[in-house]
Amino acid sequence: MMNEQRREFIRKAGFGVLAGLGVAAGIVPGYSLEKTVLPAWDEKPVAGKIRWGMLIDTRKCKEGCQQCVAVCHHEHNVPDFGNRKDEVKWIWKSPYEKVFPTATQQFKSKELSERSCLALCNHCAESPCTRACPTEATFKRWDGIVAMDYHRCIGCRFCMAACPYGSRSFNWQDPRTAIKEASTSYPTREQGVVEKCNFCSDRLVKGLQPACVETCPEHALTFGDLNDPKSDIRMLLETNTTMQRKPELGTKPSVFYII
């Protein structure tokens, strides 16, 4: 009697397993196993997936060449007032000891002490400017770019005080009066806002490389995703000794240099 019950139980359990397998195999439609269509998800980019970075080979960068600076400043309608006080800059060249003031300066080669290095916003992973901004006008984007939302900037210049690299400029005057050849590819700014390099986010969205990278005649600049181990920039970082500006501050810059 006992035996019969057990046999009955095993038989029923067996049919249960079969039914379960059937569901899993798709013979019986199981709605709990419905497939998810990826493109139907939100089209917002995923934060942290990409971290854009740049590698500047200062050995290749030619002395006196200002092509990347000119192209960038033209493309983004950066004004040129012609004096230091009102100067607005996104990318510029400075002597080695100005770009790397905390790197060793003793017994440098003559060539190195005369070399000028390209400087731009470092798009730090731990950006001090975005912490200082009271209106979140400058913010860390989903792809590692430290972006400016000029619509929100109130011109308090806290970010300029916070940036240890001097990458930010203030529009003391109406910049439109100081743009010689206006470009239609990017808007201008207005008086009373801070501006800086945007890593060409306007070009990235079109699938283009940043203007400075594209224009460099010596191919001294490499742009890519630091989170992708197979990207060109990561390959170069793997095979070269590189430097960041003021790494001791812990800002984790995304711009690297080969000296």
């Binding site: 899993a24 195999a25 013979i27 990826l38 207005e190």
Partner: protein, 131 residues
């Protein structure tokens, strides 16, 4: 007699189980064979051939639409506007001006009449300034 019946039940069940397992793996295989769906496009081409919403709605709400576009595209990177009829537009002033810019006074006429002074053209190029 009883024994044969039992055996047929056992073997029948076994065949069923094997079939189910086979079907399961076949199904898995067909899934693995499919390439991963392409990642969703972050941009769409600027299409200014049709309006994103009816004229009546845009007349009253264009500033809300523009504010929404500005915030979601600049801050979240969500650059695609999905119209209720399913068509997609790039969230850009250029999408509007690609068509409306042909009338250089399109924005100004109404704003002057209503005496509103939006700050768009402090930075963005207005249809008056574009060549």
């Amino acid at each position: 007699m009883m024994k044969i019946k039992k055996q047929s039940v056992i073997f029948g069940g076994l065949i069923l189980v094997l079939f189910a397992i086979g079907a399961f793996f076949l199904h898995q295989e067909s899934h693995a064979g499919n390439p991963m769906p392409a990642p969703p496009l972050k941009t769409v081409a600027i299409d200014s051939t049709k309006c994103i919403a009816p004229t009546e709605y845009m007349r009253a709400n264009h500033m809300r639409v523009l504010n929404e576009w500005r915030n979601s595209s600049v801050r979240e990177g969500n650059r695609i506007h999905l119209a209720p009829n399913g068509s997609k537009f790039q969230k850009s002033l250029n999408t509007c001006l690609g068509c409306h810019g042909s009338n250089r006074l399109f924005c100004f006429n109404c704003h002057m009449y209503a005496n509103v002074k939006p700050k768009c053209w402090n930075c963005h190029l207005s249809p008056m300034e574009t060549p």
